[in-house]
């Protein structure tokens, strides 16, 4: 009884911190979802774009740049990284996953070059979280408000975009690239732009994370992809993916629920080193579920992706 109470108490005390963290990491989940679901382009760039955003933001903040400008430049760097992955795939016909692995490996060196060392403290520098009205800076509440507001704005902008004429065309590229091309859609432009946009979101997540935690580290991207995927799977299981609205809500809902779950597991005494194994098994189970359910019926349709 005592253990249960302790677990619950420590979980509850962590809820606000975890919520702030999950709202920031929701951008990475968004950066994983857009290529994966909207473009059928499974992309691993975020594992490199997330620390890239963090490193760029950290260096610029240390140099005294305003926090918003630092995020903007980090965003741009992530956009370029995403564009490069898409270009490698399209131009050299390299598998999307391999293109992503190449990019994230190369980004590791680039990130080290940008920072000049493996980590950098920017503690005390002004951040966007200081601007939350009426709240004491540095506390979870201000982070929740600022990150939540940005998330809301991004969500509505994307929701509007994917229903415009251009946005519908981008989704068509993911649904059937041959058909999209035959309908006059420039597949290269849509893919490069879309994956670039995803890289920008991952990098923005990294930049916000650095401002939130007060330091940048080249290893901050380690395992972010599998966490993001797990969050996406949870989100899709909760809100579904039948419509643009649901598909876009899934990363946000998923991130919030997933990180609370992780926090609960840790509060319940799960050793942190086991976390990756547990997350991996969870993602595997979610991906395997459709084929397990239909094991008696006809062969299930495989996840169709571009190769």
């Amino acid at each position: 009884m005592d253990i249960l109470q302790n677990t619950f108490a420590s979980f509850v005390s962590l809820v606000p911190v975890t919520l702030a963290q999950s709202l920031i990491l929701a951008f990475v989940v968004l950066g994983i979802m857009i290529p994966f679901r909207m473009l059928s382009f499974p992309d691993l760039t975020s594992e490199g774009a997330f620390p890239l955003g963090g490193c760029v933001c950290g260096v610029l903040m240390a140099a005294g740049m305003s926090p918003l400008a630092a995020i903007a430049i980090a965003l741009l760097a992530g956009f370029v990284a995403g564009c490069c992955t898409a270009f490698i795939h399209l131009r050299f016909r390299i598998h999307t996953l391999l293109a992503g692995i190449l990019m994230m490996t190369m980004l590791y060196s680039i990130n080290l070059r940008i920072m000049g060392r493996s980590n950098l403290s920017v503690f005390g520098a002004p951040t966007v979280f200081d601007w939350a009205p009426g709240l004491q800076p540095g506390f979870p509440a201000s982070k929740i408000v600022v990150a939540g507001l940005i998330a809301l704005v991004v969500f509505f902008l994307l929701y509007h975009f994917f229903r415009t004429e251009k946005g519908t065309a981008v989704r068509a590229v993911g649904a059937n690239p041959d058909m999209a091309e035959a309908q006059g859609i420039n597949v290269w432009l849509a893919t490069i732009g879309g994956v670039g946009l995803a890289g920008a979101f991952s990098a923005a997540g990294g930049a916000l994370m650095v401002q939130s935690q007060g330091f940048a580290d080249v290893n901050m991207g380690l395992g972010i992809l599998i966490n993001g995927l797990a969050a996406l799977m949870i989100g899709e299981a909760i809100v579904g993916k039948q419509s643009v609205l649901r598909q876009l809500a899934a990363p946000f809902v998923g991130a919030i629920v997933y990180y609370q779950l992780v926090s609960f597991c840790l509060a319940a005494g799960m050793p942190p080193p086991d976390l990756k194994l547990a997350t991996g098994l969870f993602v595997l189970a979610m991906l395997a579920l459709p084929s397990l359910k239909r094991s008696r019926g006809p062969a299930p349709a495989r996840e169709t992706v571009r190769e």
Binding site: T164, E165, K166, T168, A182, I185
Partner: protein
Amino acid sequence: MLEIRSARKVFYKGQADEKVALDGLNLSLATGEFGVVIGSNGAGKSSMLNAISGALVLDSGQIVINGDDVTATPVHKRAMRLARVFQDPMRGTAASMTVAENMLLAELRSNKRTLRRGLNATRLSTYKERLSLLGLGLENRLDTRVELLSGGQRQSLSLIMAVGGQPELLLLDEHTAALDPRTADIVMQATIRAVEALKLTTLMVTHNMQHAVDFGHKVIMLDAGRVRLEIDGKDKVQTTVPDLIGHFSVKTDRMFLAS
């Protein structure tokens, strides 16, 4: 108007299994003319359509549409001028998107895509009206994902999408071959209605000799990457199915003698 001038394409050039797909092919189709292309497998029918649509880059030769040389134009830019219905109903539509969204994509084929809302009320009612012409009930399923439609419904949708923007050239690639006889008939009738009403310049590939006899102004028979026979005008009207099949068998006998 469509003109193909001495188009040549060789696959696996210089290798043991070198294959001449198009061997100096010349073809011309006047504006508003409906050409039916026949020929045995491997005669170059698909290569020709791919070369016209831009999916296949020619080794030499030219493709001219309404006086403009489009030989070097990429597929997505050529799409502003031409529409294509594939044999496989899966290829011509976006399965995970709705009927209305597919119609929207087709409508925007020859227009510039903007950042305005795609599916508005005006468009939805236009789509409803156009789909109701088929009589398949698709007009009540605008929000249905295309993957839930039957093959015949998908192919009918592809056809409506293709003829929608009044393309300068319509390419039909055995578009009824994968359908059951009744559905094939519905799709074929809808095709003829649209082509005649809109006076579309059309090139249809078919293995159905009855279709080749019944429809179109001109029959073009391909063999080994070149035009072997063209029947038009009065001769076309008098042509019967056995006549056409006769041309096939002559060819087979020759092949037999040559080997």
